[in-house]
Amino acid sequence: MVSFLIDPFSLSFMQRGLVGGILIGMTCAVLGAFVVWRGMAFIGDAMAHTVLPGIVIAFLNGASLFVGALIAGIVTAVGIGWFSKDGQVREDSAIGIMFSGLFALGIALLSRVNSYQDLSHILFGNVLGVSWGDIAAITVVLIIVGAGVALFYKELVVTSFDPGHARAIGLSPATVRYGLLILLALAVVSGIQAVGVVMVVSLLVTPAATASLLTKRLDQVIVLGAGLSVLGTVTGLLASFHLDIATGPVIVLTLTGFFILTFLFAPKQGWLMRLMDGDLPRRAN
C-alpha cells in the first residue's frame, strides 16, 4: 500500500508533476473562492480560452508563454468591461463574444504550428511535462496570487458583498474587479499546464464550490478549497500512473467526485441531511 503511494514519486517527472500540480491547485483554489462567490465561473472559463492566442503568439515567437497569456488575459478583461460598459451589450454576451472570438484566433494560429502534440497539451494539459523552470514560474504566480488576495482581502470581500457601500466609501468595485481579473489570468495560465484550456475552470470552481458546502466562512473556503485541490491533484497523479490514463482528466474527475460526495453527504448542507430535515426546497437567495 505504501509503495503504491510512494514509489511513483521516485520518478523525476512524477516529482515535478506533484510539485507543479500542488502549486497550481492551490493557486486556482485561492482565487476560486472569489470566482464561486462572485458568480465569475463563466468569465473564468472564458479567460482560459481567450489566453490561447497569447500563448500561441508567444510560442511562435519564442517569448514567455506567461507574458503572452497575461497580455491576452488583460485584453480580455478590458475588452469585456469596454463592450458592456454602457449596458448596450450585456456582460455575459460580451464574455461570450470575447471567449469564442479569441479562442478561434488561438486555434487558427495553432493550426500553423504543425504539431498536434502541442495543441493537445494546451487544450488538455500535461502536468507530467512541467520542467523545473515551469515550476519556478508557477511558484511566482502562486506568490503573486496569494499576496494579492491577502493584501486586498478586505477590498475583495466588501466589493463582493456590498458594492454600493464600497462605492460610498470611495472604493471603486471596477478597480478591484480588474485587479481580480488580472490575478485570474495568471492563475488560468498556471492551471492550463495542469489540466489544459478546456478543463481549467474545474480547478477554479469545483474545489471552492465543494468547500462552500462545508463552511460559511470565506477564509475557510479558501483553505479547504486549496486542500481539496491538493488532494485531487495527488489522487489524479497516482490514478493516472497506475491506470495509465491522462493526468488532467483524472484530476478533474477526482475533484468532481469530491464535489458530488460533498453535495450528497455534507454534514449541514448536504442533500441527504436536508432530505432528512425535510427542508429541501429551501435555500432561497
Binding site: 449596458g87 456590498d162 454600493g164 472604493l171 478597480t175 466562512r217
Partner: protein, 286 residues
C-alpha cells in the same frame, strides 16, 4: 473615482458653520435615457435634521441618495457636504443600501460586515486595530446584535440583517447617514429600534436622510419631509408636505371625501381626469 479617495487619507475637516448638505441645481440622467432622473434639484439640510425623502416609484429618490453618497458621478449641479465638495471625504457619509443590492449569501460574518464600516477609515493595506474592533463591538451591542456576531449574515432574518447594516453605519461614525428604503418589510420592533437609533444620532448633531414609501411613520419620526418627483415638489414640515395636493400631483390621484358617509376614496387621474375609483392603500404606497 481616484484611488486616493478611499480610506484614511481623508483629512478634509468639516467647514464650521456650513450646513450638512447643500444641493444646487442637480440634474442627472442615466445613459441614453432622454428623460432625466433628477431635474434642477436644490435643497439644503441643516446639521441634526432628520429628513424623510418621499415620492412615487421612479421619482429619483435612490438616484439622489446615490449622488450624495458619491456612488454616481456628478453630471450637472453641485453637492456640498459639511462645506466640502461631494466625494472629498467618504467617511463622513454612510450609506445603507436597499436590500436587493447586497449579496446576503456571501460567506461573511456579522462582525465582518460591521467592520466594513471601519474600512472607510482604513483604506488600502491597513488592517483593523483595537480602535476599530471596539467601535464594531459597541455598534453590535447598540443594535442588539452582539450575540449574533459570528453568524453568517445570510442566516439572519431580514430585520436582523437591517440592524447589522445600521450597526455598520454606527461603526463608521459618519456625520451624514443615508438610508434607501430601510423600512420595507421590517418587523415593528426593528423599525422602532432603527428610529430610536436615528433619534440618538440626530441628538448628537448628526444628520439623517431616509427614503421611504411608508408615509405613516412620517408624522412621528421625522421633522422634515421632501417630496421628490424628478424635481423637488414640496419641502417643509411633514404636515406641510403631506397634503392632498402634493399627493395628487406626485401619485396622479385625488383624495375624495364622500359628503354623506365621510369615507375617503381615491380617484386615479390621467391627464387630470378621473379614470377609476378604488381604495387608497396598496395602489398608492407599495
Amino acid at each position: 473615482m481616484s484611488l486616493e479617495s478611499y480610506g484614511g487619507s481623508c483629512v478634509v475637516p468639516a467647514v464650521s458653520g456650513h450646513p450638512a448638505l447643500v444641493i444646487q441645481d442637480l440634474t442627472y440622467s442615466y445613459g441614453s435615457q432622454a428623460k432625466s432622473a433628477l431635474f434642477e434639484v436644490s435643497l439644503t439640510v441643516q446639521r441634526g435634521q432628520k429628513v424623510a425623502l418621499i415620492g412615487p416609484n421612479g421619482a429619483g429618490k435612490s438616484t439622489l441618495i446615490k449622488l450624495i453618497a458619491s456612488m454616481l458621478p456628478l453630471q450637472q449641479g453641485q453637492i456640498e457636504i459639511y462645506g466640502n465638495a461631494v466625494g472629498k471625504c467618504h467617511h463622513r457619509v454612510a450609506y445603507v443600501p436597499q436590500r436587493s443590492d447586497v449579496d446576503w449569501q456571501f460567506p461573511v460574518s456579522v462582525r465582518q460586515v460591521v467592520m466594513m464600516g471601519r474600512y472607510a477609515h482604513l483604506g488600502w493595506l491597513k488592517w483593523p486595530g483595537k480602535v476599530d474592533r471596539e467601535a464594531v463591538q459597541n455598534a453590535l451591542e447598540q443594535m442588539g446584535m452582539a450575540d449574533f456576531a459570528d453568524r453568517q449574515i445570510g442566516e439572519l432574518s431580514g430585520g436582523q440583517q437591517q440592524r447589522v447594516m445600521l450597526a455598520r453605519t454606527l461603526a463608521q461614525n459618519a456625520d451624514l447617514v443615508l438610508m434607501d428604503e430601510p423600512l420595507n418589510n421590517l418587523d415593528v420592533p426593528t423599525q422602532e429600534l432603527i428610529f430610536h437609533v436615528l433619534e440618538d444620532l440626530t441628538a448628537e448633531g448628526k444628520t439623517v436622510i431616509v427614503s421611504t414609501h411608508d408615509l405613516g411613520v412620517l408624522p412621528i419620526h421625522f421633522n422634515r419631509a421632501i417630496f421628490l418627483d424628478q424635481r423637488v415638489i414640496s419641502d417643509g414640515s411633514v404636515e406641510e408636505v403631506l397634503t392632498a395636493e402634493t399627493l395628487a400631483r406626485a401619485y396622479g390621484v385625488r383624495l375624495c371625501t364622500d359628503p354623506e358617509t365621510g369615507a375617503v376614496t381615491v380617484e386615479q387621474l390621467v391627464n387630470n381626469r378621473p379614470v377609476s375609483r378604488g381604495d387608497t392603500h396598496g395602489q398608492l404606497f407599495d
